[in-house]
């Protein structure tokens, strides 16, 4: 974020914009890596300036994941591509029940990208990494010709330590398990849509973009029998619940009325013909826990920042069809389906 942003370490007089040479392996690239990336991500493993980071294994079981960020616009209310890139991988590790430790970051830069913009993104990533307690320990940079990318794409991978004995995965879900949701849904998707000028959607909605691993750690440490976790990203709550039901080969019943959606998100969805359950999130997750632990889990979650609205939204069933039934606002039921294709505003 631009507040309190230190001056870009690569003076405008030197390189106001990213050049092909910044990915060319020579002096320009070295300057970029040393003065911009290494200066921002500053940590001993990166300072070793080796081809990769070497470190002892923090636990017997590890989680390893990767994520790519291509968001447009690069900066939007409540976040930016840098925060998404860090928290996306942090959250995927968290959903494996892992404590995120180290991240890698690869940048694909478009020739002509303003150096100041890159600096803002990189600085925001460094802030996000500090906030999440992870280090960015290795990386790569490539530059492509102008027109062949959209400013900057970032790919991050991460390693996390699993420091408990639970098997947190769809296969652990059992009939009768409670399905919990960590807060209201749909903010990120609507914030991004609103930030795209062509929609002229005037709202003050901010992305929910946030790290989730502390809430997960609190759940695990409290002794709650956590069966499965899923962060709600593209495809929204619907995709998360359906994917787990399909993988586990179990059904679920969800109470639509229990799902919190803030008023501006509901309005935007009504206007555009979207279902809030299909809209993207970047700081929400669903948790499958044993039914006996559901109330305690909610208590633990609600004490965590960003999770005060945590709520039980449904129950895992066992009719063997792998479908998810939604109890609607007027008390009838329908099946919940994944979004087909792109989410497009409808005609009338």
């Amino acid at each position: 974020m631009s507040d309190g942003l230190p001056a870009c370490p690569i003076p405008i007089s030197d390189s106001p914009r990213v050049l092909m040479a910044h990915g060319g392996g020579g002096r320009f690239m070295r300057t970029l890596i040393r003065d911009l990336f290494a200066a921002a991500f500053d940590n001993p493993l990166l300072a070793a300036a080796h081809d990769g980071a070497v470190f002892p294994s923090p636990s017997a079981r590890l989680a390893y994941t990767t994520d790519a960020s291509v968001v447009r616009p690069l900066f939007f209310p409540g976040g930016d591509i840098g925060r998404l890139a860090v928290f996306g991988t942090v959250n995927d590790l968290a959903m494996c029940g892992a404590r995120p430790i180290h991240l890698s970051a690869s940048f694909i830069l478009e020739e002509g990208l303003e150096m100041e913009t890159l600096w803002r993104v990189v600085h925001s990533m460094a802030d996000a990494a500090r906030e999440a307690g992870v280090s960015i320990v290795t990386g790569d940079t490539k530059v492509v010709e102008r027109g062949n990318a959209d400013g900057v794409y970032i790919s991050t991978s991460g390693i996390g330590a699993i420091e408990h004995d639970l098997a947190i995965e769809p296969a652990s879900v059992r009939p009768g398990d409670a399905i919990l949701l960590s807060g209201d849904v749909g903010r990120h998707g609507i914030a991004i849509l609103a930030a795209r000028a062509d929609l002229m959607l005037e709202t003050a909605i901010e992305s929910d973009c946030a790290p989730l691993h502390r809430a997960v750690a609190a759940l695990v440490e409290s002794g709650v029998d956590v069966r499965c976790l899923r962060d709600l990203t593209r495809g929204g709550l619907a995709s998360a619940v359906l994917e787990v039901a399909e993988t586990a080969g179990l059904d679920a019943t969800i109470d639509e009325r229990a799902i919190p959606v803030i008023e501006p998100v509901r309005s935007a969805c009504e206007l555009l013909g979207f279902d809030a359950l299909h809209v993207a999130n970047e700081g929400r997750f669903a948790a499958w826990v044993s039914s006996a632990d559901a109330d305690r889990a909610l208590e633990v979650l609600r004490a965590q920042p960003g999770c005060v609205d945590a709520v039980r939204i449904g129950t895992v069933g066992d009719t063997g069809r792998g479908t998810v039934v939604l109890r609607s606002a007027i008390g009838t039921s329908r099946i919940l389906d994944m979004l087909s294709g792109e989410q497009l505003p409808r005609i009338c």
Binding site: D198, R266, I330, T332, R334, D337, P345, R346, I347, C348
Partner: protein, 367 residues
């Protein structure tokens, strides 16, 4: 949320359903005309609340669904030309023509853009004087005023690089066609509230009188639809066949007079081909007088493109309420939202897509 939650109140919904159970003494078949209503019925499971004696058939009121296949092919032919920006509402981009859809054309290099208003397409034309901008003007009477406004604006500004592929259709002739069919089962209509917001209610009076059918102009929220059904059933039970207005909070008897004047200035009533149904006389809008110079079909010489529908698709029968989506052998197997045979499986307002999205297992059991 104001003006939404009141109309989704479960207690009130059950009360109307209870009243319906009392009012309906025999079997009645109604059709909701608009795809928006079909979507709401299936999404909220409104038909679950109805007594078993009342059957809802889904009508032809999905603009994407009734746009003929050859028009999609003409759109694809225009979009593929260099120096063209093809602008459309999002729904149209996924409708398959005989060789692909507009999203596929975009992936293959065509400049296809989603706009939320026809006026956005005019703005694109203004900003790109070296490029020709074509807008795909589809929809019922509801979207016609915005299309007309865009054309009036382009006309006033003397824009030479703007044209339109027009496929506007009208509700009343479709109702006449359904009622005239020997297979017709419809005894009463829930007319499309938003169409009547523009056009008013008077053009339905002769249809109600001639065919002895109640027509209730109905809104789109669960309570609107339930109340519309109750009003239609009450008429049927009492032997009345009148035009009534359930959606009075939005629909005036004269409609939107300003919008109607604009439509009349820009469009004239013409025969239109409806996908799956065929040509219906006097069932659409075409460009009038000086606005004909904005006709994209003429400009790009694509009006000769004719296309045959896939034989397996029964969307014409679905659109007329003669078959339900789950009665189609291809439903959910050879025809899915990802690989649709017909447009009723594409648009979120299409009956086949609504069934597929909200009640696949139930539909499969019924088969």
């Amino acid at each position: 949320m104001r003006f939404i939650d009141e109309y989704r109140d479960p207690v009130a919904a059950r009360e109307i359903a209870r009243q319906l159970g009392v009012a309906a003494t025999r079997q009645w078949t109604l059709m909701e005309v608009c795809g928006g209503q079909t979507h709401a019925i299936v999404r909220f499971g409104i038909d679950e609340l109805l007594p078993p004696s009342i059957r809802l058939l889904h009508g032809p009121g999905c603009p994407v669904c009734v746009t003929p296949l050859e028009l999609i092919d003409r759109a694809l032919a225009i979009a593929a030309q260099t120096g063209v920006i093809f602008a459309s509402f999002g729904d149209m981009l996924r409708v398959p023509g005989s060789t692909g859809d507009l999203l596929g054309a975009r992936a293959a290099g065509a400049d296809v853009r989603i706009v939320l208003s026809p006026l956005d397409a005019v703005a694109i034309a203004r900003a790109n004087p070296q490029t020709h901008v074509v807008f795909f003007g589809v929809g019922f009477e509801t979207t016609a005023p915005a299309t007309a406004l865009a054309l009036a604006q382009a006309d006033q500004e003397g824009l030479e690089n703007f044209s339109m592929l027009v496929s506007h259709v009208l509700v009343p002739p479709a109702l006449e066609t359904i009622l005239a069919s020997p297979d017709n089962q419809v005894q009463g209509f829930l007319a499309a509230g938003h169409v009547c917001t523009v056009m008013g209610t008077s053009e339905y009076e002769p249809i109600a009188r001639k065919h002895r059918v109640p027509i209730v102009v109905t809104g789109f929220e669960p309570l609107d639809i339930l109340q519309g059904v109750l009003m239609a059933v009450t008429q049927l039970e009492e032997g009345r066949a009148e035009v009534e207005n359930q959606y009075a909070r939005a629909v005036r008897p004269d409609g939107n007079t300003h919008a109607r004047r604009l439509i009349e200035e820009v469009f004239e009533v013409v025969p239109r081909k409806w996908r799956g149904i065929g040509t219906i006389p006097a069932s659409g809008f075409g460009l009038r007088g000086r606005f004909r110079r904005f006709d994209a079909e003429e400009r790009f010489g694509v009006s000769a493109i004719e296309t045959k529908e896939p034989e397996e698709c029964i969307s014409g029968l679905v659109l007329q309420g003669i078959k339900r989506p789950n009665e189609c052998p291809a439903f959910g197997t050879r025809c899915t939202p990802e690989r649709p045979l017909g447009a009723t499986m594409v648009s979120s307002e299409g009956a086949c897509a609504a069934y597929h999205r909200y009640r696949r297992p139930i539909a499969a059991e019924a088969r």
